[in-house]
Subunit: 897 residues, 2 copies
Amino acid sequence: MPKYVYDFTEGNKDQKDLLGGKGANLAEMTNMGIPVPPGFTVTTEACKYYLHHGSVPDELADQVTAALSQIEKNTGKGFGDADNPLLLSVRSGAKFSMPGMMDTVLNIGLNNETIDGLVALTGNERFAWDSYRRLIHMFGDTVLGVDGELFEDVMDAEKDAKGATNDLALDAKDLKRVTEKYKAIVAEQTGEPFPDDPRTQVDLAIKSVFDSWNTDRAILYRRQERIPGDLGTAVNVQAMVFGNMGGDSYTGVAFTRDPASGAQGAYGDWLADAQGEDVVAGIRNAQPLVELQSADQAAYDDLIDIMARLEGHYRDLCDIEFTIERGKLWMLQTRVGKRTAGAAFVMAGHMVDEGLIDMDEALSRVNGAQLTQLMFPHFDASAARGAALTTGIAASPGAAVGRIVFDSDTAEEWADNGETVILVRRETTPDDLKGMVAANGILTTRGGKTSHAAVVARGMGKTCVCGAEELELNLAARTLKAPDGSVFNQGDLVSIDGTSGTVFAGEVPVQDSPVVQYFEGKVAVDHDPLVSAVHRLLTHADEKRRLRVRANADTPDDAQRARRFGAEGIGLCRTEHMFLGDRRQLVENLILADGDEGRMAALDALRPMQKGDYLEILEAMDGLPVIVRLLDPPLHEFLPDYTELEVEWALARAKGARLDDDRARVFDAVHRMHEQNPMLGLRGVRLGLVIEGLYEMQVKALSEAAAELIKAGKSPRPEVMIPLTATVQEFEIMHDRSEKVFAEVEAEYGVTLDIPVGTMIEVPRAALTAGEIAEQAEFFSFGTNDLTQMTWAFSRDDVEGEFFGRYIELGIFGVSPFESIDPAGVGRLVKIATDDGKAANTDLEVGVCGEHGGDPASIHFFDAAGVDYVSCSPFRVPVARLEAGRAALGEGGSDTR
Amino acid sequence: MPKYVYDFTEGNKDQKDLLGGKGANLAEMTNMGIPVPPGFTVTTEACKYYLHHGSVPDELADQVTAALSQIEKNTGKGFGDADNPLLLSVRSGAKFSMPGMMDTVLNIGLNNETIDGLVALTGNERFAWDSYRRLIHMFGDTVLGVDGELFEDVMDAEKDAKGATNDLALDAKDLKRVTEKYKAIVAEQTGEPFPDDPRTQVDLAIKSVFDSWNTDRAILYRRQERIPGDLGTAVNVQAMVFGNMGGDSYTGVAFTRDPASGAQGAYGDWLADAQGEDVVAGIRNAQPLVELQSADQAAYDDLIDIMARLEGHYRDLCDIEFTIERGKLWMLQTRVGKRTAGAAFVMAGHMVDEGLIDMDEALSRVNGAQLTQLMFPHFDASAARGAALTTGIAASPGAAVGRIVFDSDTAEEWADNGETVILVRRETTPDDLKGMVAANGILTTRGGKTSHAAVVARGMGKTCVCGAEELELNLAARTLKAPDGSVFNQGDLVSIDGTSGTVFAGEVPVQDSPVVQYFEGKVAVDHDPLVSAVHRLLTHADEKRRLRVRANADTPDDAQRARRFGAEGIGLCRTEHMFLGDRRQLVENLILADGDEGRMAALDALRPMQKGDYLEILEAMDGLPVIVRLLDPPLHEFLPDYTELEVEWALARAKGARLDDDRARVFDAVHRMHEQNPMLGLRGVRLGLVIEGLYEMQVKALSEAAAELIKAGKSPRPEVMIPLTATVQEFEIMHDRSEKVFAEVEAEYGVTLDIPVGTMIEVPRAALTAGEIAEQAEFFSFGTNDLTQMTWAFSRDDVEGEFFGRYIELGIFGVSPFESIDPAGVGRLVKIATDDGKAANTDLEVGVCGEHGGDPASIHFFDAAGVDYVSCSPFRVPVARLEAGRAALGEGGSDTR
């Protein structure tokens, strides 16, 4: 016979699938001999049966009857017994806790007869009637589907009649009247009297919990969190105990150590003559746990003893709820407790020292999201003097204060003069890179989490608030107007909180991250317990990890920083920005060149500059590999905007004017290069193949830089990376041309160069034909940003505004696939390409250089997929090291969200 | 010891890998006892050895010596024998014939001594010296690398000196002098005297053939044709025979039946006292084969007999070269002969009747490309009265004559009045669809083979010339100016040839395709031998094929045509065009709707129109499935152009004017909807999810149409297809919503609907997660156009102009992946999705509705991949039926290019 009901004595903490989280832990405590009010769990299997058949299994009724008898036996009370009534709580308890599901119905078992027993038993008439009216309210609302406001209205009317504002003003008589009115409401709304029969109450409550599995909100939550829809929920039915039975009763919540700081020692709050909700709701001021001693030394000692046992048993921070009913301690719940990021690290270190866990376990207890949080500066909230002006999208965490500037040139200029500035733009473009580097923070009035500003800022580890749409930006007037009407000019101080998205007027004090100061060598490892713990766990992660960690860095500064943060090389050095600024004119010459001569002249002028760039970055990373990606973006990104030019021309014509020759040539080129879908157009290796000499120039500049450094006794390790390869033929041609350049430079300089040539894998076809490509390539690097765009067919530039929001609402995405790798789609391509590539070329080195290289969940995926290294922004390098270490622990370390 | 040399008696026709095509067939004939001048083949293995080591294998010299002795023995002549010299030809012969490789060196073995023997032997001094000077020219040019023009110059000077224009004016003495001068040139250019030693001549010629495997042109050709680079070529060394030894010698080429019409009976041309090149070059007028009887009855009888034997042996049309040297017939070459498209069909039918081959074999002898050719009308070239004006890109084959119109409205209006028109546009857009339907042909001055005009025209089977850039189109003046300065106005007649790209002034007579007339039921099956053969082979293909064939059709007319052409249903009915024209205003209302009300009003207005569309098409296809794809393109396609609006607004502002409110709303919407990469933006199912009610409206209209037809006793079989699905969640939501609509309509109409809901697989992620999607979907249809765009990361709108041309030059593409499926990339996704989909849902129906559904090579791929049906434009349906039948034959039918 299928077993659908487990007494708490029959389960254990590992049965979360069957008993849910709450039930499994209650069973565990029961079996540890810890005082838990007796009860039982109806399994998730019963729920699944009910959801599938629309009725509970036949066996359930008898099993519940037997379990109820057991509770009666254990408590000495009778369910429905008018003299000594047993009251029950019914709570849902799924494997994963889930908002939107039915939470709790208390006081089940009360009716017109047992109410008298409760009065007699407690000697507290008001308590008894309050319990009864609460049952009808909770049951009516959650089980019978009566609108809760109808009950609230009754209470409000009663209080109004007494001129009171507080429930406590109502006495037993009042509450008895309320109870009768509640019953009338139920009868009227449901067409049936409130069920008096205690057994009917418990049966209906159980079914109601089952039904709550499929509320819209629960379904949406599961879809977003990718929790399977067929798990079902368990139901816990438990004898009630009361912390509100008078001055010798107490209730409280506690942690086995401080969840905020991680400090050792029990920590909690309690109230006398109260129920659990009262502590949580903060109706009265709760007292610190230690003071419970003076109220009830024996119960306190019991509690401390039990908490120590629980921590020893769970080998982790435990979060508990307890009630002391007239001197008797009862444990109502325990679970592994939530903690702050800092506490997680500190606690993990302590627990190792205490011998509770080993270093591997400690590493599995912390994660990259926590480390990220610890690396950002933050505002001292209590000191926030300026009022919040508005809240935008929290795009890149941290806290930044500075003077408003509206353009990148000013940002640079002011920063050079020692000012800290906040760059305020409608949206940013690649042209704003220098301004973003110079600024302390970035604030935009458009765009979301995956806009240019957000992505670049996160890459730089720079605070950014995006899409603050309530702010009116007037670039012409150089003003920013807040919703409250206040106007900010260039130079005015603002503070932006990239963790919450809040924008403040004026300066809010900022606290630096000691963890970053430690990475930067500005504080010692023993600076504080947090720094020590981070150091210790990162060191262990480094010992454990299989994945290597490199950085994406385009400048010598970034490269040096990455090295300090532990990067083992540069996985992606983009050459795009090297074509901006002063060099833009040369690029324009290149694009506008009529024939070979003009083009070669432009290339010849660019080469020494490129060589200079490469020299600097190779020197900064001497001895470590530096992967240089050849020019990737559509050339028209270096030219004026198509629509703006059309407008300019139309206006000129309207005035009877004409464009001068130079402008006309630009106009022609922009027209010629205009594409409907530039992301799918002339870019990457296509540029290298269409613009003869461009890639050769870059390869030559890089080879020359390496040759010079070799002659100077250095150990440069450049590698050449071809972007956007879709087919082995493209790669083959560029590889051949690169080899020719290497040979030329070797002959010129009299040195031997060993420069591997590899390719980005960022086009689905490259992943699908990786076996062919690997026969020619020395390395692969997954460009997961573009790979995600092509695999999903949406562009990162466009999707945000139009439908990403709606998709998240509909539960189609839990997390944007640009933030965390999509394992089933993009991830499958990564796996195919890694497997096929390594099968074809056992020496092939495989890395990842997209945004995902620094994302914890993605790092675990890449580790499992057999990738050799990840490359991420310098700021994310420590996170990647930590997560790579955790990934190496296997299953235990995979819980990263 | 490795065997590198095969005497012709040692090989056979199946050894093409080792002996090359020419060598294998020479061996085959030799072994059939057919008179072939003796000779031998140096194998491709020797070539591979040479290419790898840079020298011929040691064993080769002795093997060549032995083989030469055998020729001497067989001919009774001596190689280098001054009295009775043996002369040799040396020719390349790879497995696949390949332009750019060395072709032939004749007369090897001549030198200062053997020349006298040749004079004595032939009694023809002029012939002997002409042979000698030809040897030095050919050998100097192709083996020694001397510039051929130097030799030409000598000949020209000699002729000038005699005041002659013809080589025949030079006598033996002149040619002797020419020979000496040639030798001097060789000595001067190479620094070495011309090699006199016959053996040296043959050895150098062999190596030279090997070297020619790696000429740039040969490499490029192989890359384009995807011929492996490591096959190597064989070399054929053969005794010379001479058709130019006087009036009793002849030479000719012949076919075993007429390669133009397919008519039975030998067919060929011959010349007396001539060499093979003379026949091919057409220097003298060749005589029909039958007249050879009167010249040499015995040789003619031999020849006819041998040709019959060859055809019986090869069981196919044979193409032969022969020489009759003083009464003795020699066969110099045979191969399976090329034929016209019509001849292929007629011949295949005849050969079945003759018992030469069976129907399967006959089916494998014809292909879809040939059938396509037979379906287009063509110009009567001889009657081309108008001069060619220019040549554009041959975008969609056929011949069309009509009056020029410059816009779609005029096209429609004139066509309604019975005019045939040619629509002339810079480029076409979806707005031109009606004009394209109305026009007889389409001519554009921009865009290439994959431009909108080209793709749509091919889909319609309508003649189209694209990118005729030499024509100056002045839309304002409504004129078209040709390079010769002539100007064409609206209403002027032009003729366009979509097969060659030529544009003619005036009317060129057009001949209709009898095959299409037969499909259309306008001529009977016994109309002519071609129609009968096509009918017979298509019927056989239908019996054989596993793949079903449906059509892509958006209108009742197209649907009816598709049905006549043999379509078994509609695989893709697009709803886009249903939103254009008069309904555009409603769509604008929909897009501009402020709230739910406005949107619902717009949808309510559209629904009856959609229902009308569906009624018509379901009626036309009654009893057959009709897959309706819900709205797919970006909404902004239905709004004015972003840049044009910006210009309009800028001009208005410049004049101090402002946009009226309606225009301003349009402007705002266009701005809001503007996307950097519309192909990767808000389209497909994203529209359905973001614009509440849109897809529901379409599903409701379709369901209502079906319900009405059911009530009228018809058998409508609609299916609903969701476009651009990337993840199962999108599909699940739209599927649920569709089911709700079906239930509503069932209740309203009191009918039972059975409408499958499926999805396009056109986003790589959909293919990669096909297993998940198949659990929810009833069918898949591969949208291989979009799948190709995303998999390769290039957009069909953009690539043409910028880099496709360069890519084809560089050999990166042989054929555009938009024309024929890319098996390694896109094809792999098709395979993954088909396998995973069918594994997850054994009832899943899998089809293809992209352009590739009508491409022969792609159809073979889809058959092998396990797809259930292909869907293509109505015009391509017969081709798809034929190729699906051929695919079912297995390997034998796979040669489709």
